[in-house]
Symmetry: C2
Subunit: 159 residues, 2 copies
């Protein structure tokens, strides 16, 4: 009986794609952990709080609670605690909506905008530091492929 | 007064690295969502349950509850519910440890191993499908850079 011949490298692509996914997940979680650690150590802040500030900063007129939780894909309950805290600290305020007595808009105050600007600036510097192992060519190469991947993922969701 | 001159492309690397991080996070979340959806639709299963099965399958002698939650980085409480369910379904069992009356090892049964093998096989096919927009060259290029990135991230944690 002869030894079964082994195909060299053929059909390795599924395994390589699986490896890619595991590496991607690992990198993504490590970076998130590192950002979480720096937010805590430098600002006594958290990732969800940073994300809420960021969402509010990007909106022009403010956001309803439901809009924030939809953007951040977390439950309303978690957002409520964060917004309460931001309001207490004078970083955000609740504005009533003329035509809707039951809902209100959450907006950043001037102080809130300044605080977020500081955090966002630090965040960019941290990411630059954390990703410093990748040079311009690496970064461009990955950005290009991640664009491809994200476009394919969006198509998948629209199917 | 003259218009301030804009530097072309110089110092763009920090911004590009930030973009890379946001794209990476987006891709990672989308893929996780898609896997979550397919686990639910095809097996009525969840990602944490799949992760517990996977951790148990990789261990030779079984794992303590604390080891599972450490590997998966979730609280013991969440793991307990999943292990209880797996045990009820005959996919896992609890084995007492001779020298430790308070702890026990969780192990997969033969049926549990078979079920996980099926899920893992499907999981690999899903990832191959989800990442089908990336060819061999793309996958190799990204794997290489993610290795660099993950190595740099590990150094960061050891500092």
């Amino acid at each position: 009986m002869s030894t079964p011949s082994r195909k060299p490298d053929v059909d390795d692509l599924p395994k390589e794609r699986l490896r890619l996914w595991l590496k991607l997940l690992k990198a993504s979680r490590s970076i998130e952990d590192e950002v979480r650690r720096r937010l805590r150590n430098n600002y006594g802040s958290t990732l969800p709080r940073f994300d809420v500030l960021s969402a509010l900063d990007r909106s022009t007129d403010g956001l309803k609670m439901g809009e924030i939780s939809k953007l951040l894909r977390v439950t309303n309950g978690n957002i409520t605690g964060i917004v309460d805290k931001l309001t207490e600290e004078g970083l955000a305020l609740r504005v009533s909506i003329p035509d809707d007595r039951r809902a209100h808009l959450v907006r950043l105050t001037q102080k809130g905008k300044e605080v977020f600007r500081n955090h966002a600036h630090a965040h960019e510097a941290w990411i630059n530091d954390i990703l410093s192992g990748l040079d311009e060519l690496d970064v461009d190469g990955m950005n290009l492929r991640l664009d491809q991947l994200n476009a394919a993922l969006e198509e998948l969701h629209n199917d």
